[in-house]
């Protein structure tokens, strides 16, 4: 697991990779939150493109960032969710909270 953070034009992008479970969710959360506090972006993009596994800890991670971004008047976008992760995303109801690429919701 490692997280690469990129900031440009009011948008903070977190490129997530590896396996997201309870063991590593705390570290990812701290890294992203530190960057949010620092940049106060209008939009946080969580890019799941490099994630090979995720359980409900990943859902907690998205929900928590959603709350944080909402508190500073920003939004969360979820991008590049691999097919294997979409079932868990879907059953969590996250599609109602964060913004997803339309094609990801349909698949």
């Amino acid at each position: 697991m490692c997280t690469v953070l990129e900031y440009s034009g009011d948008k903070l992008t977190a490129l997530l990779s590896g396996e997201i479970d309870h063991h590593c969710a705390g570290k990812i959360r701290d890294e992203i939150d530190t960057a949010i506090e620092h940049h106060r972006p209008a939009c946080l993009v969580l890019d799941f493109g490099g994630v090979s596994f995720m359980d409900s800890s990943g859902i907690g991670l998205v929900m928590g960032r959603y709350k944080l971004m909402k508190s500073i008047g920003g939004e969360v976008r979820v991008e590049n969710t691999p097919k294997a992760l979409r079932r868990v995303m879907k059953l969590s109801g996250l599609y109602q909270l964060a913004k997803f690429d339309q094609e990801e919701i349909e698949l």
């Binding site: 479970d21 309870h22 969710a25 409900s56 907690g60 868990v88 059953l91």
Partner: protein, 150 residues
């Protein structure tokens, strides 16, 4: 029905072992030649059950987590994840979607919902101060079902 194969593993409730546990069970399940989706479901469900042991059964200490898994001739995989931690006072409540006692730690409260969605059957037996056993059962598709020849 007797299992055609079975395993048992035991490990400490360290969070780093969540990955070990799901990979170990996935490796055992591999002999059933599961689909990628089925393997992903198994890993995710086991990860949820083991995380519950790490987070809730032993909140302030390390304890032992025991997993047994068995394969049955009808291609059922039965996994039992057991701890001897604090026990669950209200199992029905614990299984409600979004219910969590770990809100501060950003637990989503979806662990049991995920287990129920990704397996065929989830049973929980628990006693306060005594052992908790989560039994997950999943029937894997047969080769004919997978390639459409059935």
């Amino acid at each position: 029905m007797r299992p055609t194969n079975s395993i048992k593993i035991e490990f400490e409730s360290r969070s780093v072992n969540e990955g070990f546990a799901r990979s170990a069970i996935a490796a055992f399940a591999a002999q059933l030649d599961p689909t990628i989706d089925e393997l992903c479901d198994i890993k995710t469900a086991v990860s949820e059950a083991v995380t519950n042991c790490v987070v809730h059964a032993y909140p302030d200490r390390l304890g032992k987590v025991y997993i047994s898994a068995a394969i049955y001739p009808d291609r059922r995989l039965v996994m039992k994840i057991r701890d001897v931690g604090c026990g669950i006072s209200d199992v029905a409540k614990a299984m409600e979607p979004l219910f969590t006692t770990g809100a501060d730690d950003e637990r989503s409260g979806l662990g049991f919902s995920v287990m129920q969605s990704l397996t065929d059957r989830v049973r929980v037996r628990s006693k306060i101060g005594g052992p908790t056993t989560v039994t997950l059962e999943k029937k894997l598709s047969s080769k004919g079902e997978k390639d459409g020849s059935l």
